[in-house]
Amino acid sequence: MGSMISISIPPGSLGAKAAAWSLLLLWLMLLPGQGLAESKQVKGLPPPAVLNPAADLWRDIRQRDMATTGTTQVRGVDSGVLINANGDKWRKFRMDQLIPIGGYLLLGMGLFLILFYLIRGKVRIAGGASDRKLPRYTSYERLIHWFIASIFIFLALTGLIILFGRPLLIPIFGKELFSVIASASKEGHNLMGPLFLVALILVFIKFVRRNIYQKGDMSWLLRGGGIIGKKHVPSNFFNMGEKSMFWMLIIVGSVIVASGLVLIFPIFGQGREWMELAHVGHAIGAILMITVIMGHIYIGTIGMEGAIEGMSTGYCDLNWAKEHHDYWASQMEKRGEAISNEAVNRFSDPDTNRSLGRELREAGE
């Protein structure tokens, strides 16, 4: 037994004996990186006969080697664990890394996009809008795009409220009101989350074939997707950037969904470690995804002329398609899929509907 004691505490340390009596020292031992190494060996004194055995106990349950769990009458996951060592790591991640770094990343992306817009400006259709259009997305494709988009925006907003609400919103709204907002965000986030999984599956099934990397994608990447220089780089239905974004969405999205499910359903017997890990994955994935999607939204709306048409009306301008997706556009044009603007308007614009009767009658008479 003596050996046992001497392993734990440097021999001959009377100072250690005194320290072990102190409650404060027990507290210190709970903190990582703190030990008793600083106690100095005093020469000429016999080895310690007595040490507080509680010190050993506390060191063990401190879980540095994740070994000691006890039993308890209280049922529940992890109820036998006396001290959860990872909690502090998780706290540090959240407070020292996630919130500041994540916040600056999102802010930085916003600023970057503003700067980019100011420098580069809107990417115009070089040849101007043509009088013909190509069918780009079917209504089902648009439906699932806007479905995943609306759910994503809702989840991103509610998630960001929970993450950044304390530093940003509490000063504005006060604790009481913010608590209402946060509770609503949490419940909404939890309820809508599983729908993101459904949307992700639908998007994956619908778009995966067009997003497999093809010949020509590499050269698109090497030429910077046309950002460098003024020349447009030809590409297939989706260019390298869009494909990469798709795979990011699928892979990171799966991580987010999987970790999210771990977090909202504490019924699988997952302990704190799992949830902490899931939270880390969820947060990193979400910040990454929001950053990328910000770029996606930018290039889809104010960043590029004619880009949103495909997703809103289902048709894109022929010149736009030739400039940005030349391989696909020329194929489509060869197959005679280009449609005149009037025909497109007739199908998508409700305001021109009334003229049909007259048109038909005039054509018939």
Partner: protein, 213 residues
Amino acid sequence: MIGQFIDGPLWTFSLAVFVIGVVWRIVTILMAGNRPDLSTPRGSASSGAIRTIFSRSVYERTAATRGRLLQIAGYLFHIGLFALLFFAKPHVDFYAERITGFGWATMPHWAFILSAELAFLGLLLLWIHRLLSPVTRLLSDLDDHLGSILVFLVMLTGCLALAQSFEALRLIHLLLAELLLIYFPFSKLMHTFTFVMSRGYTGATMGRKGVNA
């Protein structure tokens, strides 16, 4: 103060508007009257009517892609909403306290959440579809959008108030539900009741002809 108003008089008022409005709407429809059908029937009108009232809920496989999507989303939304409305515990408790005086069997919590998920899935799909499809863009008027928005908001605030611990969230949910109740009799939402009549009339005519409609 405003909470008491929402919880008390406004609730009573909206319920009254809803009940009186719905009855009034149904009565005015019936008052328009139908001419009796003099042709010799081949089959029974009443059994045709009953048949159609139920058979129109059956999936129609001949509808094309868009039709399939519409029908599936329609099922999800309606089944989810029905379950939420009548078998979610907070709702049943509310009815028991305010209207009926007695409660009934409620869903377990997981089924409650699941039906909310389904209802949201269905409603979102249907709504985005309404905004995208040329057909529904052409057909939809303010009433359609207002109805969708109100139902969506009621569902959303209901989901945000899921924690059931913030009075403010409950009141927002209740207020929107009351607005919905007031709006209900004057809108498309009346199809909740009139679909029985529509299906019944059509079913009766088709039943007389011996067609399973």
